[in-house]
């Protein structure tokens, strides 16, 4: 609170209006609201701040300095968390997951970081990271409804990969190479994930008509079903419907703008229709996101091969095989090898 008052230092009885209102000794300086002499004006402008306030401020400053030293590591974690949140908002889930890993290195139990890690890893289909984060927050209650709903949506997204009817799944796997049996099983399950598994095996058999029919039925039930959309990109590519294939890719990128497999797929689609420049762009985008990702490396190897850089493409194939030795999954080298060794005509 502040008040504008004239001074009342001098007693009223002997108050001389011609003199300074404060000291009543000197002649006042004209032109101000209150008649003060020059000395009084100067000293009152610098009305003293008590020493205890200065010490109080020094005390606060000391505590602040100590706290700010500690704050440095928190600032770095907050910056990474902020970047992760922004990346999640933009559906850049790979970036988000990397940033969150940095936060969790320092604060492994932090609720928000783990919850966001569940979201990012779910959209990246990184089951291991999802499970680790889930275990840390499973028993924690939160009132953050927005975060909870984001986590729930991501959890539903990742859960779509798992079939509930495991017996039926085993029957489908057992009939993987029997087209007639697979087709007969299509209508005996309502689970769309199992239908997509059947369609996957039919895709291996190059029965694209049936694959498309099954996938269309799946998409009628769930237009955002990742595996169905992903399979459709391959079917459309192999049936020379390139624009449609790219459109399906874009639908997938709308869920995760940093989906390396989809970017690599776009490169392979563009290569198939001999748009090598566009393919090179998508391949380098995928590679920039993760130089060690085997599908990004596959796209690069194919771009190199069709650009006449056969040596480089074979070197990339060798790198892919090294990665596959660690992961135990040789799908990519098996489909890439015949193309870049010339035993299969890709286009």
């Amino acid at each position: 609170m502040q008040e504008n008052y004239p001074t009342q230092s001098a007693p009223e009885s002997s108050f001389n209006e011609g003199l300074c209102a404060n000291c009543q000794l000197n002649v006042y300086e004209p032109g101000h609201a209150i008649n003060l002499c020059s000395d009084c004006r100067k000293s009152l402008i610098k009305y003293p701040i008590p020493k205890w306030i200065k010490f109080f401020a020094l005390g606060i400053l000391a505590v602040m300095v100590i706290s700010l030293v500690r704050t440095q590591q928190y600032i770095s974690a907050a910056i990474h968390l902020g970047k992760a949140e922004n990346a999640i908002d933009q559906k850049h889930f790979l970036t988000a997951q990397r940033e969150l890993a940095l936060v969790l290195n320092k604060f492994p139990k932090d609720f928000n970081a783990n919850a966001y890690m569940m979201v990012a890893s779910a959209y990246n289909f990184d089951f291991e990271a999802y499970q680790v984060a889930f275990d840390k927050v499973a028993d924690v209650k939160t009132e953050d409804e927005a975060l909870l709903s984001t986590v729930n949506a991501a959890s539903e997204y990742i859960a779509q990969s798992f079939p509930k009817d495991t017996l039926m799944y085993k029957r489908i796997v057992a009939a993987a190479k029997d087209k007639e049996k697979l087709l007969a099983m299509t209508d005996s399950t309502d689970e769309i994930v199992l239908k997509v598994h059947i369609a996957n095996f039919l895709y291996e058999a190059k029965d694209y008509d049936h694959v498309e029919r099954i996938v269309n039925k799946v998409l009628a039930v769930d237009p955002n079903f990742y595996q169905a959309l992903s399979l459709m990109t391959a079917v459309k590519r192999n049936t020379a419907k390139y624009d449609e294939a790219l459109a399906f890719c874009d639908r997938l990128l709308a869920f995760n703008a940093e989906d390396i497999q989809v970017l690599s797929q776009k490169a392979r689609i563009e290569l198939k229709r001999k748009h090598d420049k566009e393919a090179a762009v998508f391949a380098s985008q995928a590679l920039a996101l993760d130089p060690d990702d085997t599908s990004a490396m596959e796209a690069k190897a194919m771009v190199d091969y069709f650009a006449g850089r056969k040596k480089e493409s074979l070197a990339t194939l060798a790198q892919i095989r090294v990665h596959e030795t660690n992961s135990g999954d040789s799908t990519i080298s098996k489909r890439l090898s015949p193309i870049i060794t010339g035993s299969e005509i890709y286009r």
Binding site: Q2, F56, S67, A78, N86
Partner: protein
Amino acid sequence: MFVPGILISIATFPGVIVHELAHQLFCRLFKVPVFDVCYFRTENPVGYVIHEPAPKVYQTVFISVGPFIVNTLLCFIIGFSASLQFKFDSANVLDYVLMYLAISIGAHAFPSTGDASTLWNAVVKSETTSWLSKIVVTPIVGFIYAGALGSFFWLDIIYGGAVALGLPYLIIKIFV
């Protein structure tokens, strides 16, 4: 829950001190003589600064809203040094002390109704000030009264908490 304002002021006394200090510092900045300062007391008003009326309207405005600027800035700076520790559930006693100081200071950022009344009398009711000054100052006075009304709903404490706890992370998030 209704808690008498005087009790809140006692609990958040560092904010009152900074509030009055802010008035005093703005007086010093504009070379306005100060006759008396009470940094804190346990009666209404809990603090005051008595000074000569400022010669210019903008000086009157700044002296009146000085605490809003100074208290908010200090609340943010002190809060910043502790808020991230709270965000990552790692706050210790020092952080709690700093957060108490920050929120206390932030809670007294809003100018008092006394400040609003000074501003009203010095600018809006004055016959010597221009219409433009009156047009600019009237909403400021309205804002101060709205803030005073909001303190019934703990707006002052909420404001302190938001500036001390929420703003640091928000700024980091916006600028990363």
